[in-house]
């Protein structure tokens, strides 16, 4: 049963990712796109965790953790870029 549930959640996440992509492509504004990308980062964490579950392996945890950290930094950086142009000033 659990495998089926995992697959179902996989499907949900995949749909979520595609929705994010849609927003990313659609825009219309840059903040919209950044938001979409940020969400995509977070949703991919879910995806990776699910992979881990599916394979019964804890090896993928770090990847998820890193996405969480790096996704944040890159979102912040892009915002800063749009606000100030200069990320590191």
């Amino acid at each position: 049963m659990l495998d089926n549930v995992i697959m179902l959640v996989f499907a949900m996440i995949s749909i979520a990712l595609l929705l994010n992509l849609w927003r990313l492509l659609r825009g219309p504004s840059l903040p919209d796109r950044i938001l979409a990308l940020d969400t995509m980062y977070i949703n991919s964490i879910a995806l990776i965790i699910l992979y881990g579950l599916l394979m019964g392996s804890p090896l993928y945890f770090e990847a998820a953790l890193l996405i969480a950290m790096l996704g944040f930094v890159s979102t912040v950086a892009v915002c800063k870029f749009l606000l100030r142009g200069d990320i590191i000033e």
């Binding site: 049963m1 659990l2 549930v5 995992i6 179902l8 959640v9 949900m12 996440i13 749909i15 979520a16 990712l17 929705l19 994010n20 849609w22 927003r23 504004s29 840059l30 903040p31 919209d32 950044i34 938001l35 979409a36 940020d38 969400t39 977070i42 949703n43 964490i45 879910a46 965790i49 699910l50 881990g52 579950l53 019964g56 804890p58 945890f61 998820a64 953790l65 969480a68 950290m69 944040f72 979102t75 912040v76 915002c79 800063k80 749009l82 606000l83």
Partner: protein, 120 residues
């Protein structure tokens, strides 16, 4: 693995998945940027929490105790509001239009810009 445990895991996963999905639906569905922001910021965070809890249970039951997924949750809890804050700042800076029925637009500070940046 006990049956009820499996149910619990399934519950958390499904809960998480649903919230993740709802967050993304919000992202697509809401009419302006400010409203779109709410879904991902909140729903996704909780959704992630759900999935991570599912994962914690899963690994804790199959093998050693696995609670490091908590870290991701904590991390997201700390960062998500800041991301949202930075995004909304950017949106305000870009003068994105909110839908017309939004109230309190006057509370948004006037353009915080001068002709040239001379603050240093």
């Amino acid at each position: 693995m006990q049956h009820w445990m499996e149910w619990a895991i399934a519950f958390f996963l499904l809960l998480g998945g649903s919230f993740v999905l709802i967050g993304s639906i919000g992202l697509t569905r809401m009419p302006d940027f400010f409203m779109r922001l709410h879904g991902p910021t909140k729903a996704t965070t909780l959704g992630m929490g759900g999935i991570l809890l599912g994962s914690i249970f899963f690994f804790s039951l199959t093998g050693d105790v696995s609670i490091h997924e908590l870290l991701i949750t904590i991390f997201l809890l700390i960062t998500a509001p800041i991301s949202a804050h930075m995004l909304i700042k950017t949106a305000l800076h870009h003068k994105l239009t909110a839908i017309s029925k939004t109230r309190g637009l006057d509370k948004i500070p006037p353009a915080q810009v001068k002709a040239h940046d001379r603050n240093v």
